[in-house]
Protein backbone atom coordinates (compact mmCIF):
# COMPACT_ATOMS: atom_id res chain seq x y z
CA UNK A 1 0.00 0.00 0.00
CA UNK A 2 1.39 3.30 -0.91
CA UNK A 3 2.17 6.12 1.38
CA UNK A 4 -0.86 8.25 0.67
CA UNK A 5 -3.22 5.40 1.51
CA UNK A 6 -1.46 4.95 4.83
CA UNK A 7 -1.84 8.60 5.58
CA UNK A 8 -5.50 8.32 4.74
CA UNK A 9 -5.90 5.89 7.59
CA UNK A 10 -4.23 8.20 10.04
CA UNK A 11 -5.58 11.53 8.97
CA UNK A 12 -9.10 11.48 10.40
CA UNK A 13 -7.90 10.63 13.89
CA UNK A 14 -5.01 13.01 13.57
CA UNK A 15 -7.18 15.86 12.47
CA UNK A 16 -9.71 15.27 15.19
CA UNK A 17 -7.06 15.21 17.89
CA UNK A 18 -5.22 18.20 16.53
CA UNK A 19 -8.22 20.45 16.27
CA UNK A 20 -9.97 19.47 19.45
CA UNK A 21 -7.10 18.67 21.74
CA UNK A 22 -3.63 19.38 20.51
CA UNK A 23 -4.07 23.02 19.60
CA UNK A 24 -6.05 23.91 22.75
CA UNK A 25 -3.56 22.04 24.88
CA UNK A 26 -0.52 23.59 23.31
CA UNK A 27 -2.05 26.99 23.87
CA UNK A 28 -2.82 26.15 27.49
CA UNK A 29 0.63 24.79 28.16
CA UNK A 30 2.50 27.50 26.33
CA UNK A 31 0.65 30.04 28.44
CA UNK A 32 2.45 28.65 31.48
CA UNK A 33 5.73 30.00 30.14
CA UNK A 34 4.41 33.51 30.04
CA UNK A 35 4.27 35.58 33.17
CA UNK A 36 3.31 39.23 33.06
CA UNK A 37 3.55 39.24 29.32
CA UNK A 38 7.02 37.83 28.93
CA UNK A 39 8.66 34.45 28.82
CA UNK A 40 9.48 33.13 32.25
CA UNK A 41 10.22 29.87 33.96
CA UNK A 42 9.82 31.34 37.42
CA UNK A 43 6.59 29.49 38.07
CA UNK A 44 8.30 26.22 37.39
CA UNK A 45 11.26 27.10 39.55
CA UNK A 46 8.86 27.98 42.34
CA UNK A 47 7.24 24.57 42.19
CA UNK A 48 10.41 22.60 41.73
CA UNK A 49 12.08 24.45 44.59
CA UNK A 50 9.18 23.71 46.91
CA UNK A 51 10.01 20.81 49.23
CA UNK A 52 6.34 20.12 49.89
CA UNK A 53 5.55 19.90 46.20
CA UNK A 54 8.50 17.65 45.55
CA UNK A 55 7.51 15.39 48.38
CA UNK A 56 3.98 14.79 47.19
CA UNK A 57 5.28 14.43 43.67
CA UNK A 58 7.65 11.75 44.82
CA UNK A 59 5.01 9.98 46.92
CA UNK A 60 2.56 9.96 44.04
CA UNK A 61 5.19 8.71 41.64
CA UNK A 62 6.21 5.98 44.04
CA UNK A 63 2.66 4.77 44.62
CA UNK A 64 1.95 4.87 40.88
CA UNK A 65 5.04 2.86 40.05
CA UNK A 66 4.32 0.39 42.80
CA UNK A 67 0.79 0.00 41.52
CA UNK A 68 2.02 -0.51 37.98
CA UNK A 69 4.51 -3.10 39.09
CA UNK A 70 1.94 -5.02 41.13
CA UNK A 71 -0.54 -4.91 38.27
CA UNK A 72 2.03 -6.41 35.92
CA UNK A 73 2.84 -9.18 38.38
CA UNK A 74 -0.80 -9.98 39.08
CA UNK A 75 -2.12 -9.55 35.56
CA UNK A 76 0.32 -11.94 33.92
CA UNK A 77 -0.85 -15.19 35.48
CA UNK A 78 -4.50 -14.17 35.30
CA UNK A 79 -4.25 -13.11 31.67
CA UNK A 80 -2.33 -16.23 30.76
CA UNK A 81 -4.90 -18.36 32.48
CA UNK A 82 -7.72 -16.63 30.67
CA UNK A 83 -6.01 -16.80 27.30
CA UNK A 84 -5.63 -20.58 27.68
CA UNK A 85 -9.33 -21.12 28.23
CA UNK A 86 -11.46 -21.63 25.22
CA UNK A 87 -14.64 -20.17 23.86
CA UNK A 88 -17.37 -19.24 26.29
CA UNK A 89 -15.27 -19.81 29.38
CA UNK A 90 -12.75 -17.32 28.18
CA UNK A 91 -15.43 -14.74 27.50
CA UNK A 92 -16.91 -15.22 30.96
CA UNK A 93 -13.59 -14.89 32.75
CA UNK A 94 -12.70 -11.87 30.67
CA UNK A 95 -15.98 -10.26 31.59
CA UNK A 96 -15.50 -11.08 35.23
CA UNK A 97 -12.08 -9.52 35.08
CA UNK A 98 -13.52 -6.23 33.91
CA UNK A 99 -16.55 -6.38 36.17
CA UNK A 100 -14.87 -4.12 38.72
CA UNK A 101 -14.85 -1.38 36.09
CA UNK A 102 -18.62 -1.36 36.24
CA UNK A 103 -18.51 -0.23 39.81
CA UNK A 104 -17.98 3.40 40.50
CA UNK A 105 -14.50 4.11 41.92
CA UNK A 106 -16.14 5.75 44.91
CA UNK A 107 -18.12 2.66 45.72
CA UNK A 108 -15.07 0.49 45.27
CA UNK A 109 -13.18 2.60 47.74
CA UNK A 110 -16.05 2.20 50.22
CA UNK A 111 -15.67 -1.49 49.87
CA UNK A 112 -11.98 -1.33 50.62
CA UNK A 113 -12.72 0.77 53.66
CA UNK A 114 -15.00 -1.98 54.87
CA UNK A 115 -12.28 -4.54 54.28
CA UNK A 116 -9.19 -2.69 55.45
CA UNK A 117 -10.63 -0.60 58.28
CA UNK A 118 -9.76 -0.79 61.96
CA UNK A 119 -12.80 -2.98 62.54
CA UNK A 120 -12.73 -4.22 58.96
CA UNK A 121 -13.11 -7.70 57.60
CA UNK A 122 -9.40 -8.26 57.20
CA UNK A 123 -8.61 -7.32 60.76
CA UNK A 124 -11.52 -9.36 62.06
CA UNK A 125 -10.28 -12.33 60.12
CA UNK A 126 -6.69 -11.95 61.25
CA UNK A 127 -7.70 -11.41 64.87
CA UNK A 128 -10.03 -14.40 64.78
CA UNK A 129 -7.35 -16.67 63.38
CA UNK A 130 -4.93 -15.36 65.97
CA UNK A 131 -2.44 -14.16 63.39
CA UNK A 132 -2.38 -10.76 65.03
CA UNK A 133 -3.32 -9.44 68.45
CA UNK A 134 -3.76 -5.78 67.61
CA UNK A 135 -5.73 -4.55 64.60
CA UNK A 136 -3.43 -3.53 61.76
CA UNK A 137 -3.77 -0.02 60.51
CA UNK A 138 -3.77 -0.35 56.76
CA UNK A 139 -6.55 2.03 55.87
CA UNK A 140 -5.36 5.61 55.44
CA UNK A 141 -1.84 4.51 54.56
CA UNK A 142 -0.10 4.51 51.18
CA UNK A 143 -0.55 0.72 51.19
CA UNK A 144 -4.31 1.14 51.20
CA UNK A 145 -4.04 3.60 48.33
CA UNK A 146 -1.93 1.15 46.38
CA UNK A 147 -4.39 -1.67 47.03
CA UNK A 148 -7.28 0.49 45.93
CA UNK A 149 -5.44 1.59 42.81
CA UNK A 150 -4.43 -1.94 41.92
CA UNK A 151 -8.04 -2.96 42.21
CA UNK A 152 -8.98 -0.02 40.06
CA UNK A 153 -6.50 -0.68 37.27
CA UNK A 154 -5.72 -4.39 37.27
CA UNK A 155 -8.62 -5.10 34.89
CA UNK A 156 -7.08 -2.81 32.27
CA UNK A 157 -3.81 -4.68 32.43
CA UNK A 158 -5.45 -8.09 32.31
CA UNK A 159 -7.61 -7.28 29.34
CA UNK A 160 -4.75 -5.74 27.41
CA UNK A 161 -2.51 -8.72 28.04
CA UNK A 162 -5.16 -11.27 27.08
CA UNK A 163 -5.51 -9.48 23.76
CA UNK A 164 -1.82 -9.90 23.05
CA UNK A 165 -1.40 -13.40 24.43
CA UNK A 166 -4.10 -14.75 22.20
CA UNK A 167 -2.08 -14.06 19.11
CA UNK A 168 1.01 -15.85 20.35
CA UNK A 169 1.61 -19.23 18.76
CA UNK A 170 1.46 -21.94 21.43
CA UNK A 171 4.29 -23.80 19.71
CA UNK A 172 6.71 -21.06 20.71
CA UNK A 173 6.15 -21.89 24.31
CA UNK A 174 6.68 -25.58 23.59
CA UNK A 175 9.79 -24.79 21.60
CA UNK A 176 11.23 -23.00 24.61
CA UNK A 177 10.38 -25.87 26.90
CA UNK A 178 11.91 -28.41 24.58
CA UNK A 179 15.08 -26.35 24.64
CA UNK A 180 15.23 -26.84 28.38
CA UNK A 181 13.33 -23.86 29.69
CA UNK A 182 11.15 -24.63 32.67
CA UNK A 183 7.60 -23.34 32.42
CA UNK A 184 8.62 -20.32 34.44
CA UNK A 185 11.67 -19.68 32.25
CA UNK A 186 9.73 -20.21 29.05
CA UNK A 187 7.20 -17.76 30.34
CA UNK A 188 9.87 -15.25 31.19
CA UNK A 189 11.95 -15.64 28.05
CA UNK A 190 9.28 -16.12 25.42
CA UNK A 191 5.87 -15.17 26.70
CA UNK A 192 6.96 -12.01 28.46
CA UNK A 193 8.97 -10.55 25.57
CA UNK A 194 6.20 -11.30 23.13
CA UNK A 195 3.72 -9.64 25.45
CA UNK A 196 5.81 -6.53 25.54
CA UNK A 197 3.56 -4.46 23.28
CA UNK A 198 0.65 -5.22 25.57
CA UNK A 199 2.74 -4.68 28.64
CA UNK A 200 3.83 -1.27 27.51
CA UNK A 201 0.35 -0.06 26.85
CA UNK A 202 -1.06 -1.78 29.92
CA UNK A 203 1.59 -0.24 32.11
CA UNK A 204 1.03 3.14 30.55
CA UNK A 205 -2.68 2.94 31.28
CA UNK A 206 -2.11 1.82 34.84
CA UNK A 207 0.68 4.24 35.55
CA UNK A 208 -1.07 7.28 34.21
CA UNK A 209 -4.29 6.22 35.87
CA UNK A 210 -2.69 5.91 39.26
CA UNK A 211 -0.47 8.92 38.82
CA UNK A 212 -3.44 11.17 38.16
CA UNK A 213 -5.92 9.37 40.39
CA UNK A 214 -7.87 11.62 42.72
CA UNK A 215 -10.82 9.88 44.37
CA UNK A 216 -9.15 6.69 45.54
CA UNK A 217 -6.18 8.35 47.27
CA UNK A 218 -8.56 10.84 48.83
CA UNK A 219 -10.74 8.12 50.28
CA UNK A 220 -8.22 5.44 51.17
CA UNK A 221 -5.14 7.54 51.86
CA UNK A 222 -4.28 9.29 55.06
CA UNK A 223 -3.09 12.85 55.52
CA UNK A 224 -0.45 12.38 52.85
CA UNK A 225 -1.59 14.16 49.68
CA UNK A 226 -1.18 13.16 46.07
CA UNK A 227 -0.30 15.43 43.21
CA UNK A 228 -3.81 15.57 41.75
CA UNK A 229 -5.18 16.91 45.01
CA UNK A 230 -2.74 19.72 44.61
CA UNK A 231 -3.70 20.27 41.02
CA UNK A 232 -7.36 20.21 41.94
CA UNK A 233 -6.85 22.66 44.78
CA UNK A 234 -5.20 25.12 42.49
CA UNK A 235 -7.59 24.68 39.64
CA UNK A 236 -10.92 24.33 41.34
CA UNK A 237 -10.65 25.77 44.83
CA UNK A 238 -8.26 28.62 44.13
CA UNK A 239 -9.24 29.09 40.51
CA UNK A 240 -5.56 29.54 39.71
CA UNK A 241 -5.42 27.98 36.26
CA UNK A 242 -1.99 29.30 35.57
CA UNK A 243 -0.57 27.30 38.48
CA UNK A 244 -2.78 24.35 37.62
CA UNK A 245 -1.53 24.27 34.06
CA UNK A 246 2.02 24.38 35.33
CA UNK A 247 1.44 21.46 37.66
CA UNK A 248 -0.23 19.63 34.80
CA UNK A 249 2.73 20.34 32.55
CA UNK A 250 5.08 18.95 35.15
CA UNK A 251 2.86 15.89 35.45
CA UNK A 252 2.75 15.45 31.70
CA UNK A 253 6.52 15.65 31.45
CA UNK A 254 6.89 13.04 34.17
CA UNK A 255 4.38 10.78 32.48
CA UNK A 256 6.24 11.10 29.22
CA UNK A 257 9.54 10.31 30.88
CA UNK A 258 8.16 7.29 32.72
CA UNK A 259 6.28 5.87 29.77
CA UNK A 260 9.34 6.54 27.64
CA UNK A 261 11.24 4.50 30.17
CA UNK A 262 8.70 1.70 29.78
CA UNK A 263 9.43 1.77 26.06
CA UNK A 264 13.14 1.56 26.76
CA UNK A 265 12.70 -1.42 29.02
CA UNK A 266 10.42 -2.92 26.42
CA UNK A 267 13.04 -2.49 23.74
CA UNK A 268 15.48 -4.44 25.88
CA UNK A 269 12.97 -7.21 26.53
CA UNK A 270 11.88 -7.47 22.94
CA UNK A 271 13.99 -5.68 20.37
CA UNK A 272 11.39 -6.42 17.71
CA UNK A 273 8.42 -5.32 19.80
Amino acid sequence: MNRSMRMLLLIPGLLFLTVFMLIPLVLTISSTFVENGSFSLDGYFRFLGDAYFLEILWTTLFVALLTTFCCVILAFPAAYYISKLNGGKKAIMLMLAIFPLLVSPVVRSFSWMIILGRNGLLNEFLLATGLINEPLSILYTPAAVAIGLIHLFLPLMIVTLVGVMENIDADLFLAAESLGASKAKAFLKVMVPLCVPGLVIGSTLVFVGSFTAYTTPALLGGQQRVISTFLYQNAITLNDWHAAAMIATIMIVITFVVTGLFQKIAAILNPRG
Partner: protein, 351 residues
Protein backbone atom coordinates in the same frame (compact mmCIF):
# COMPACT_ATOMS: atom_id res chain seq x y z
CA UNK B 1 16.34 -52.73 26.45
CA UNK B 2 15.24 -50.09 24.00
CA UNK B 3 16.09 -46.50 24.86
CA UNK B 4 12.59 -45.31 24.06
CA UNK B 5 9.43 -47.35 24.30
CA UNK B 6 5.90 -46.34 23.50
CA UNK B 7 3.68 -49.00 24.96
CA UNK B 8 0.05 -49.20 23.86
CA UNK B 9 -0.28 -45.46 23.65
CA UNK B 10 -3.57 -43.91 22.59
CA UNK B 11 -3.84 -40.22 21.77
CA UNK B 12 -7.03 -38.40 20.92
CA UNK B 13 -8.02 -34.93 19.77
CA UNK B 14 -11.51 -34.19 20.88
CA UNK B 15 -13.12 -37.58 20.86
CA UNK B 16 -11.31 -38.94 17.85
CA UNK B 17 -8.41 -41.33 18.44
CA UNK B 18 -5.40 -40.30 16.38
CA UNK B 19 -2.89 -42.85 17.64
CA UNK B 20 -4.45 -46.18 18.50
CA UNK B 21 -2.66 -48.42 21.00
CA UNK B 22 0.55 -47.39 19.39
CA UNK B 23 3.76 -49.37 20.03
CA UNK B 24 7.25 -48.20 19.18
CA UNK B 25 10.75 -49.10 20.34
CA UNK B 26 13.89 -47.20 19.48
CA UNK B 27 17.41 -48.29 20.39
CA UNK B 28 20.04 -45.94 21.67
CA UNK B 29 21.91 -44.18 18.87
CA UNK B 30 19.35 -45.22 16.31
CA UNK B 31 17.76 -42.87 13.81
CA UNK B 32 14.21 -43.93 13.11
CA UNK B 33 12.07 -42.35 10.43
CA UNK B 34 8.34 -42.09 10.48
CA UNK B 35 6.94 -42.14 7.00
CA UNK B 36 3.29 -42.01 6.12
CA UNK B 37 0.56 -40.09 4.36
CA UNK B 38 -0.45 -36.63 5.40
CA UNK B 39 -2.60 -36.73 8.51
CA UNK B 40 -1.59 -40.24 9.59
CA UNK B 41 -0.26 -39.13 12.97
CA UNK B 42 3.46 -38.49 12.50
CA UNK B 43 3.50 -35.07 14.08
CA UNK B 44 1.25 -36.39 16.81
CA UNK B 45 3.74 -39.14 17.61
CA UNK B 46 6.60 -36.67 17.81
CA UNK B 47 4.64 -34.29 19.99
CA UNK B 48 3.73 -37.12 22.28
CA UNK B 49 7.36 -38.11 22.68
CA UNK B 50 8.37 -34.49 23.23
CA UNK B 51 5.76 -34.23 25.95
CA UNK B 52 3.61 -31.59 24.25
CA UNK B 53 0.67 -33.93 24.26
CA UNK B 54 -0.60 -36.32 26.86
CA UNK B 55 -1.78 -39.76 25.98
CA UNK B 56 -5.20 -41.04 26.96
CA UNK B 57 -3.69 -44.35 27.93
CA UNK B 58 -0.43 -46.26 27.61
CA UNK B 59 3.10 -45.68 28.81
CA UNK B 60 6.17 -43.90 27.58
CA UNK B 61 9.49 -45.23 28.82
CA UNK B 62 12.81 -43.53 28.22
CA UNK B 63 16.00 -45.04 29.49
CA UNK B 64 13.86 -47.46 31.51
CA UNK B 65 12.26 -44.61 33.37
CA UNK B 66 8.59 -43.79 33.09
CA UNK B 67 8.60 -40.48 31.24
CA UNK B 68 4.86 -40.13 30.92
CA UNK B 69 4.77 -37.32 33.47
CA UNK B 70 8.23 -35.81 33.04
CA UNK B 71 7.83 -32.15 32.05
CA UNK B 72 8.98 -31.08 28.61
CA UNK B 73 11.86 -29.04 29.90
CA UNK B 74 13.31 -31.93 31.87
CA UNK B 75 13.39 -34.28 28.91
CA UNK B 76 16.36 -32.80 27.08
CA UNK B 77 14.87 -33.64 23.70
CA UNK B 78 15.49 -31.37 20.74
CA UNK B 79 12.51 -30.62 18.53
CA UNK B 80 12.47 -29.23 15.02
CA UNK B 81 8.97 -27.94 14.36
CA UNK B 82 7.15 -28.45 11.11
CA UNK B 83 6.24 -24.77 11.16
CA UNK B 84 9.65 -23.78 12.61
CA UNK B 85 8.30 -22.02 15.75
CA UNK B 86 11.19 -19.58 15.80
CA UNK B 87 11.10 -16.93 18.48
CA UNK B 88 10.08 -13.83 16.56
CA UNK B 89 11.61 -11.50 19.11
CA UNK B 90 15.06 -13.05 18.97
CA UNK B 91 17.73 -12.79 16.30
CA UNK B 92 18.99 -15.89 14.57
CA UNK B 93 21.91 -15.96 16.99
CA UNK B 94 19.73 -15.68 20.03
CA UNK B 95 17.25 -18.20 18.75
CA UNK B 96 20.05 -20.70 18.54
CA UNK B 97 21.59 -19.56 21.80
CA UNK B 98 18.32 -20.04 23.67
CA UNK B 99 18.87 -23.67 24.62
CA UNK B 100 22.50 -23.08 25.47
CA UNK B 101 21.60 -20.24 27.78
CA UNK B 102 19.13 -22.51 29.52
CA UNK B 103 22.05 -24.86 30.01
CA UNK B 104 24.20 -22.06 31.37
CA UNK B 105 26.94 -22.39 28.78
CA UNK B 106 29.79 -19.97 28.96
CA UNK B 107 29.72 -17.12 26.49
CA UNK B 108 32.76 -18.34 24.63
CA UNK B 109 31.62 -21.92 24.39
CA UNK B 110 28.28 -20.67 23.16
CA UNK B 111 29.87 -18.51 20.48
CA UNK B 112 31.93 -21.42 19.29
CA UNK B 113 29.08 -23.85 19.08
CA UNK B 114 26.74 -21.42 17.41
CA UNK B 115 29.35 -20.47 14.85
CA UNK B 116 29.82 -24.12 14.11
CA UNK B 117 26.16 -25.00 13.78
CA UNK B 118 25.54 -21.93 11.63
CA UNK B 119 28.20 -23.21 9.35
CA UNK B 120 26.52 -26.60 9.23
CA UNK B 121 23.20 -25.08 8.17
CA UNK B 122 24.86 -22.67 5.80
CA UNK B 123 23.70 -19.50 7.49
CA UNK B 124 26.93 -17.89 8.59
CA UNK B 125 26.45 -14.15 8.33
CA UNK B 126 22.75 -14.27 9.19
CA UNK B 127 23.34 -14.06 12.97
CA UNK B 128 21.67 -10.71 13.40
CA UNK B 129 18.66 -11.22 11.18
CA UNK B 130 15.27 -11.72 12.73
CA UNK B 131 13.06 -14.60 11.66
CA UNK B 132 10.72 -12.43 9.64
CA UNK B 133 13.64 -11.27 7.55
CA UNK B 134 14.42 -14.78 6.37
CA UNK B 135 13.13 -16.89 3.51
CA UNK B 136 11.16 -20.04 4.28
CA UNK B 137 14.13 -22.32 3.83
CA UNK B 138 16.37 -20.10 5.90
CA UNK B 139 13.91 -20.21 8.77
CA UNK B 140 13.78 -23.93 8.58
CA UNK B 141 17.52 -24.11 8.84
CA UNK B 142 17.55 -21.92 11.91
CA UNK B 143 15.02 -24.27 13.48
CA UNK B 144 17.34 -27.18 12.79
CA UNK B 145 20.35 -25.37 14.16
CA UNK B 146 18.50 -24.48 17.30
CA UNK B 147 17.69 -28.11 18.01
CA UNK B 148 21.08 -29.50 17.00
CA UNK B 149 23.15 -27.11 19.03
CA UNK B 150 21.96 -28.36 22.40
CA UNK B 151 23.12 -31.91 21.65
CA UNK B 152 20.03 -33.43 23.18
CA UNK B 153 19.43 -37.02 24.30
CA UNK B 154 16.81 -37.41 21.64
CA UNK B 155 16.29 -35.38 18.52
CA UNK B 156 12.83 -35.07 17.05
CA UNK B 157 12.56 -33.78 13.50
CA UNK B 158 9.25 -32.84 11.96
CA UNK B 159 9.80 -32.45 8.22
CA UNK B 160 12.96 -30.50 8.85
CA UNK B 161 14.00 -30.15 5.24
CA UNK B 162 10.67 -29.74 3.48
CA UNK B 163 11.41 -26.23 2.32
CA UNK B 164 14.92 -26.74 1.03
CA UNK B 165 16.11 -27.39 -2.47
CA UNK B 166 17.49 -30.76 -3.45
CA UNK B 167 21.16 -29.95 -3.00
CA UNK B 168 20.80 -28.23 0.29
CA UNK B 169 18.49 -30.95 1.47
CA UNK B 170 21.07 -33.53 0.67
CA UNK B 171 23.91 -31.65 2.34
CA UNK B 172 21.78 -31.01 5.37
CA UNK B 173 20.66 -34.58 5.70
CA UNK B 174 24.21 -35.79 5.48
CA UNK B 175 25.14 -33.27 8.16
CA UNK B 176 22.27 -34.28 10.40
CA UNK B 177 23.19 -37.90 10.03
CA UNK B 178 26.85 -37.16 10.72
CA UNK B 179 26.16 -35.14 13.85
CA UNK B 180 23.63 -37.68 15.05
CA UNK B 181 26.12 -40.51 14.65
CA UNK B 182 29.10 -38.61 15.95
CA UNK B 183 27.33 -37.67 19.13
CA UNK B 184 25.44 -40.94 19.35
CA UNK B 185 22.15 -39.06 19.63
CA UNK B 186 19.00 -41.05 19.14
CA UNK B 187 16.59 -39.46 16.70
CA UNK B 188 13.10 -39.72 15.35
CA UNK B 189 12.73 -38.21 11.93
CA UNK B 190 9.54 -37.37 10.12
CA UNK B 191 9.71 -36.61 6.45
CA UNK B 192 7.57 -37.15 3.44
CA UNK B 193 10.62 -37.58 1.29
CA UNK B 194 11.29 -41.25 0.95
CA UNK B 195 14.77 -40.98 -0.40
CA UNK B 196 15.59 -38.77 2.56
CA UNK B 197 14.11 -41.22 5.04
CA UNK B 198 15.75 -44.20 3.45
CA UNK B 199 19.16 -42.65 3.21
CA UNK B 200 19.25 -41.19 6.67
CA UNK B 201 17.63 -43.86 8.80
CA UNK B 202 18.62 -47.00 10.57
CA UNK B 203 14.99 -48.02 10.57
CA UNK B 204 11.87 -46.74 8.92
CA UNK B 205 8.35 -47.05 10.28
CA UNK B 206 5.60 -46.76 7.76
CA UNK B 207 2.50 -45.33 9.40
CA UNK B 208 -1.07 -45.41 8.29
CA UNK B 209 -4.06 -43.96 10.15
CA UNK B 210 -2.43 -43.98 13.55
CA UNK B 211 -0.69 -47.35 13.47
CA UNK B 212 2.64 -48.64 12.19
CA UNK B 213 2.19 -50.94 9.23
CA UNK B 214 5.83 -51.94 8.89
CA UNK B 215 9.01 -51.19 10.77
CA UNK B 216 12.23 -52.39 9.19
CA UNK B 217 15.60 -51.39 7.83
CA UNK B 218 15.23 -49.08 4.83
CA UNK B 219 16.59 -51.46 2.24
CA UNK B 220 14.30 -54.16 3.46
CA UNK B 221 11.24 -52.02 3.30
CA UNK B 222 12.31 -50.71 -0.02
CA UNK B 223 12.51 -54.16 -1.53
CA UNK B 224 9.93 -56.05 0.45
CA UNK B 225 6.98 -53.99 1.59
CA UNK B 226 4.80 -56.19 3.76
CA UNK B 227 1.41 -54.81 2.83
CA UNK B 228 -0.16 -53.33 -0.21
CA UNK B 229 -0.43 -50.01 1.62
CA UNK B 230 3.30 -49.91 2.27
CA UNK B 231 4.09 -51.02 -1.24
CA UNK B 232 1.94 -48.35 -2.73
CA UNK B 233 3.32 -45.78 -0.39
CA UNK B 234 6.92 -46.40 -1.33
CA UNK B 235 6.37 -46.35 -5.01
CA UNK B 236 5.07 -49.68 -6.15
CA UNK B 237 2.58 -48.23 -8.53
CA UNK B 238 1.63 -51.44 -10.19
CA UNK B 239 -0.33 -54.28 -8.69
CA UNK B 240 -1.29 -57.65 -10.09
CA UNK B 241 -4.06 -59.58 -8.43
CA UNK B 242 -3.05 -63.25 -8.53
CA UNK B 243 -5.48 -66.04 -8.46
CA UNK B 244 -3.54 -69.30 -8.61
CA UNK B 245 -0.32 -70.32 -6.91
CA UNK B 246 2.07 -73.12 -7.87
CA UNK B 247 5.33 -73.86 -6.08
CA UNK B 248 8.14 -74.03 -8.59
CA UNK B 249 11.24 -74.37 -6.41
CA UNK B 250 12.84 -70.94 -6.19
CA UNK B 251 9.80 -69.42 -7.91
CA UNK B 252 6.11 -69.20 -7.55
CA UNK B 253 4.02 -69.47 -10.66
CA UNK B 254 0.92 -67.36 -10.42
CA UNK B 255 -1.97 -66.44 -12.68
CA UNK B 256 -3.38 -62.99 -13.31
CA UNK B 257 -6.26 -63.22 -15.70
CA UNK B 258 -5.13 -65.19 -18.73
CA UNK B 259 -1.46 -64.45 -18.08
CA UNK B 260 0.99 -66.52 -16.01
CA UNK B 261 3.74 -64.91 -13.97
CA UNK B 262 6.75 -66.44 -12.37
CA UNK B 263 7.83 -64.68 -9.23
CA UNK B 264 11.05 -65.20 -7.24
CA UNK B 265 10.34 -66.35 -3.67
CA UNK B 266 11.14 -64.03 -0.81
CA UNK B 267 10.46 -63.89 2.92
CA UNK B 268 6.74 -63.49 3.39
CA UNK B 269 5.95 -64.13 -0.24
CA UNK B 270 3.73 -67.01 0.82
CA UNK B 271 1.46 -64.72 2.79
CA UNK B 272 -0.31 -62.75 0.06
CA UNK B 273 -1.74 -62.98 -3.38
CA UNK B 274 -1.02 -59.52 -4.70
CA UNK B 275 1.99 -58.90 -6.89
CA UNK B 276 3.61 -55.49 -6.86
CA UNK B 277 6.23 -53.92 -9.07
CA UNK B 278 7.80 -50.50 -9.42
CA UNK B 279 7.46 -48.38 -12.55
CA UNK B 280 11.24 -48.50 -12.88
CA UNK B 281 11.28 -52.25 -12.87
CA UNK B 282 8.82 -52.94 -15.65
CA UNK B 283 10.59 -53.13 -18.96
CA UNK B 284 8.93 -51.59 -21.93
CA UNK B 285 9.59 -53.72 -25.01
CA UNK B 286 8.88 -52.52 -28.51
CA UNK B 287 9.20 -56.02 -30.01
CA UNK B 288 5.54 -56.88 -30.16
CA UNK B 289 6.16 -60.58 -30.71
CA UNK B 290 6.91 -61.10 -27.04
CA UNK B 291 3.35 -60.19 -26.11
CA UNK B 292 2.42 -63.71 -25.15
CA UNK B 293 5.53 -64.93 -23.31
CA UNK B 294 5.37 -65.54 -19.54
CA UNK B 295 5.71 -62.30 -17.51
CA UNK B 296 4.87 -60.30 -20.64
CA UNK B 297 1.69 -58.42 -21.48
CA UNK B 298 0.82 -56.41 -24.57
CA UNK B 299 -0.73 -52.96 -24.23
CA UNK B 300 -1.08 -49.45 -25.58
CA UNK B 301 0.49 -46.21 -24.41
CA UNK B 302 -2.06 -43.88 -22.85
CA UNK B 303 0.23 -40.98 -22.02
CA UNK B 304 3.91 -40.21 -21.66
CA UNK B 305 5.35 -37.52 -19.37
CA UNK B 306 8.88 -36.21 -18.98
CA UNK B 307 10.20 -36.65 -15.44
CA UNK B 308 13.73 -35.42 -15.83
CA UNK B 309 15.61 -38.61 -15.40
CA UNK B 310 13.17 -40.60 -17.55
CA UNK B 311 9.76 -40.65 -19.17
CA UNK B 312 6.74 -41.98 -17.38
CA UNK B 313 4.38 -43.93 -19.58
CA UNK B 314 0.94 -45.12 -18.61
CA UNK B 315 0.21 -48.33 -20.48
CA UNK B 316 -3.18 -49.98 -20.76
CA UNK B 317 -3.24 -53.77 -20.96
CA UNK B 318 -5.71 -56.58 -20.55
CA UNK B 319 -4.48 -57.05 -16.96
CA UNK B 320 -4.99 -53.37 -16.06
CA UNK B 321 -3.20 -50.07 -16.42
CA UNK B 322 0.51 -49.92 -15.56
CA UNK B 323 2.91 -47.11 -14.93
CA UNK B 324 6.35 -47.57 -16.41
CA UNK B 325 9.44 -45.40 -16.27
CA UNK B 326 11.73 -45.67 -19.17
CA UNK B 327 14.82 -43.91 -20.55
CA UNK B 328 14.12 -42.57 -23.98
CA UNK B 329 15.21 -39.65 -26.09
CA UNK B 330 11.65 -38.73 -27.10
CA UNK B 331 8.29 -39.66 -25.64
CA UNK B 332 6.11 -42.32 -27.20
CA UNK B 333 3.03 -41.17 -29.00
CA UNK B 334 -0.33 -41.85 -27.52
CA UNK B 335 -1.68 -45.16 -28.72
CA UNK B 336 1.71 -46.74 -29.53
CA UNK B 337 1.40 -50.50 -29.04
CA UNK B 338 4.03 -51.87 -26.61
CA UNK B 339 4.77 -54.98 -24.57
CA UNK B 340 5.51 -54.86 -20.85
CA UNK B 341 7.93 -57.24 -19.28
CA UNK B 342 7.70 -57.93 -15.54
CA UNK B 343 11.06 -59.48 -14.51
CA UNK B 344 10.35 -62.32 -12.11
CA UNK B 345 12.91 -61.09 -9.56
CA UNK B 346 11.32 -57.65 -9.52
CA UNK B 347 7.78 -58.69 -8.72
CA UNK B 348 7.16 -59.08 -5.04
CA UNK B 349 4.16 -60.42 -3.20
CA UNK B 350 2.35 -58.40 -0.56
CA UNK B 351 -0.51 -59.08 1.78
Amino acid sequence: MALLTLDQVTVAYQKQDILKQFDLKIEKGELLSLLGPSGCGKTTTLRLIAGFLESKSGRFLFNDKDYTRVPVSKRNFGFVFQNYALFPHLSVYNNIAFGLKMRKQTQSEMKKRIAHVLDVVNLTGFENRFPKELSGGQRQRVAIARALVIEPDLLLFDEPLSNLDANLRETMRVEIRRIQQELGITAVYVSHDQEECFSISDNVAIMNKGIIEQLDAPSHIYSYPKTRFVAEFIGFKNFLPFSDREDNGAYWTLASGAQRFSVAKHAGSDLGMTGAIRPDDIELVLDLNQGDAANHIAGKVLVCTFLGRSYQCIVETAAGTFTVHTDMATPLDIGTPVVLHFPSNKIIITQ
